[in-house]
């Protein structure tokens, strides 16, 4: 015998995940526009690896395969990993990262809903620690590098590692705008001169700033569609903006302006697609603000003083650890137990 309620009208898990995937499309489209189709290959590889690993792990764990594959959560993890690694990376890089994310960071912790860490960020962390060289060879935007790869060239390189005759990988790739800034600051170049380097655009990296804007656009859709809570992106971006703004005001020669931080690296995709993973973020409104502030603070610190090119992944993982504590400390008072409830 069933029990009440007898009617439900939920937005099911698969539809939620699907909307998040749709929201990534503007960013991916701009990615292809500026950097060529190699990223699509990375995404296809990561997604295939994600689904295969998910199916294998479900089988090993004796869980039904079909309903879990159909929830798109593994697919989303694959896409997010592909988007966080260089598109010209060898084919096995997204495969290894995604397989680790799904098998270890997700299923060894109990599968969907039970993982304490964002699987995509764990996958990224494993890759950047294990394969730092491959992880830092980012494609220059189309037409900006010294030589240009055709679409066919890109695909051939990903799978065979062979470049067209006379081309060097170094000439096609560059370090990220964040990384370049860090290196040049280290070498003593003032911020104003760094910003004049050809790889920089109006706000941040040429091309990559537009991709970030695409992700922000998708994020705003998710906010309007109420798929993600507003507290997380607002607190994160606000903190990053405020901190970088203060440092930039005090010492503009050594600290990048706030908009540079916003549109560089994984700030936008992190704010709207990574931190907002419900499974690994707090459940209370206040907790989400605390989580966003913490992630913004850590991201800025790692970017300004840390040894890694970007801080979003490690900030996310560190804040993931704090979620149970944050949840426990920010329990709201319930109906009839509030101040002023008695007159």
């Amino acid at each position: 015998m069933l029990s009440s309620p007898f009617i439900t009208r939920p937005l099911t898990v698969d539809r939620i995940m699907l909307r998040v995937l749709y929201a990534l499309l503007p960013g991916i489209t701009l990615y292809v526009w500026y950097f060529g189709p190699a990223i699509l290959v990375s995404i296809a590889l990561a997604v295939t690896a994600a689904l295969a690993t998910e199916a294998l792990m479900l089988k090993l764990r004796d869980r039904p395969v079909r309903p879990f594959l159909a929830d798109y959560s593994a697919l989303l993890t694959g896409v997010l990993i592909a988007l966080s690694i260089p598109p010209l990376a060898p084919w096995w890089l997204p495969v290894v990262g995604t397989a680790f994310a799904i098998a270890v960071a997700k299923h060894l912790y109990g599968g969907l809903g039970s993982n304490p860490f964002n699987p995509a960020m764990i996958g990224y962390a494993v890759l950047i620690i294990s394969f730092p060289q491959e992880m830092t060879q980012w494609l220059s935007p189309q037409g900006m590098g010294h030589s240009v790869l055709t679409y066919g060239d890109q695909l051939r390189y990903v799978f065979s590692g062979v470049l067209p005759v006379g081309m060097q990988l170094d000439a096609l790739t560059m370090s990220t705008p964040l990384d370049t800034m860090k290196t040049q600051l280290h070498l003593g170049m003032p911020m104003s001169d760094i910003r004049d380097l050809p790889i920089y655009g109006r706000l941040a990296g040429k091309g990559s700033e537009m991709v970030a804007a695409g992700f922000a656009l998708g994020g705003i859709y998710l906010l309007i569609a109420r798929i993600i809570p507003w507290q997380l992106p607002l607190a994160f971006l606000g903190t990053l903006f405020a901190l970088s703004g203060i440092f930039n005001l005090i010492d503009p020669a050594h600290y990048a302006p706030p908009l540079f931080h916003w549109f560089s690296g994984a700030a936008m995709i992190g704010a709207f697609f990574i931190l907002t993973d419900p499974i690994t973020s707090p459940t209370t409104a206040k907790g989400r603000i605390a989580f966003g502030i913490g992630a913004g603070l850590l991201t800025f610190l790692i970017r300004a003083y840390g040894g890694f090119p970007d801080g979003v992944a490690f900030a996310t993982i560190l804040m993931n650890m704090c979620v149970p504590l944050i949840d426990a400390w920010t329990q709201p008072r319930i109906f009839g137990k509030k101040k002023g409830s008695e007159r």
Binding site: S4, T8, T12, V13, R15, I334, K337, S341
Partner: protein, 563 residues
Amino acid sequence: MTRLHSFHGGIHPLTHKKESTQSPIISAPLPAQLIVPFRQHAGDAAKPVVQVGERVLKGQLIGEPVGMISSSIHAPTSGTITAIELQQIAHPSALPDLCATLVPDGLDEWGVRQPLNYRQLSSDELQKHLRRCGIVGLGGAAFPSDMKLSHPVVVDTLVINGAECEPYITCDDMLMRERAEGIVRGIEILRHALGTDSVLIGIEDNKPQAIAAMQRAVDDSSHPFKVVTVPTLYPGGSAKHLIKVLTGVEVPSGKLPTDVGVQCFNVATAYAAHRAVEHGEPLVSRVVTVTGNVEQPRNYEALIGTPFSDLVALSVAKPDTNRYIMGGPMMGVELPAVNVPLVKASNCVIAASDALFPPPPAPMPCIRCTRCAQVCPVELQPQDLFWFAQSHNFGKAQEFDLFDCIECGACAYVCPSSIPLVQYYRYAKSEIRARDLEKRAADLARERHEFRQFRIEREKQEKAERLAQKERAAAEAKAAAATVIATPVDPTADADDTQQMRIDAALARAKEQAAAATPKNTEALTPEQRAEIEAIEARRAHIHELAADAGADDEPPKHSQGN
């Protein structure tokens, strides 16, 4: 214009109210037999006061209230009582309860009805009359109405609940449209009994005809009642939430509305009070919605005890109907069988099919999306409660205010993972209650055993003392006899007695020695041990208090849809 307030969360399910409001309320014909349960209200079951084979008149008392929280049961029509036995009732447990079977004689002959003038009655007299007439909350909780009028605290606002927030149910809507005058008269009676000034009648804005009818009736009556249109939002008809919307006052957790000076009655209860006082009619019928998968969804005025199967037959259930729900689709219960009787709390029966209420998909894991928390009207964290219930962490569930959950089902309605959340909460609540009872029973058994030991010990001591006294008396008597030979005593009788006593004393002494040889482990304790035992006893007493408090918590029907 009354300034409205709001509460957190809530949902907007499709209301499906139009179907059953197209035609007026009609009286259901007399059924072939009526099954009248003796427990139709919160509290203790009524005690049968009629015999099998007895002819009863309509409105005749057949069950009288027992104890404080209880109510009266009346014959819904004239006829013969053919059985008083356990029968299946509309309870999800499907456990049988004591019911009277009444075969109508078709005359529908009323017994004595004595209309009263409420203005000449004190609150006390009105309460007694309502109790005699079996008036209970008709919104679903069936709490005896007299109890709600007998509150010692001053009530300054009377809230009348015409919200009817559950989908499909329209019995209050139709009652307000058609019998607004009677409702307003009933409200005035309840207001008089409470001695309040302010009366707010809350009706959701999806019932414009009911609002207009009530407003007209209030205007005609020239009572200063306020008809307030409230936004349609489930579960806005929960008494505490309606009070919040109308007055801005939040009834504290675990407290009753009267603790903040508000009392709340359902519109149908007010109407029943009017019939009871001004027409002398006990509660023998009510308006009930029959809807869902039926050809003619509508409202019936049906006698209490009418089998649901009769009502469903009147509305003609469609062939693919495979179950029946009493109440609304959000909080209703599936009937164990369709021939169980209509009771005072039955506001609606929905014929259901898999097409109407598709079975939910298989549950997926919780992804902590907190859509449940966003809609929870009590501002709980349903995702945490689910986690604790699932992992049998009941203490933690209680700590996270599980018992404040009103089981409205809004969380399960929106859950993307289709988790039957309410079932988890009911399970956790019943487990906690069962464990509490078990613990209390164990404590009681231990206390009884300890007291028995203590009593045996005490009796032994008293016996020994009595013996010693008697021996002393005998010795004194002997001494007296030796000195005064002429004293007229009968030494033989006394001697026999003392002989026997000596034997008893010797036996007792032997027993005592045996007991002393194996000292009980609670004797000869060090002060530290004694202190420890005392601490344990104190803790146990504290736990007892807590358990008693927790038990007291869930007795009042806090989550009534307005009684």
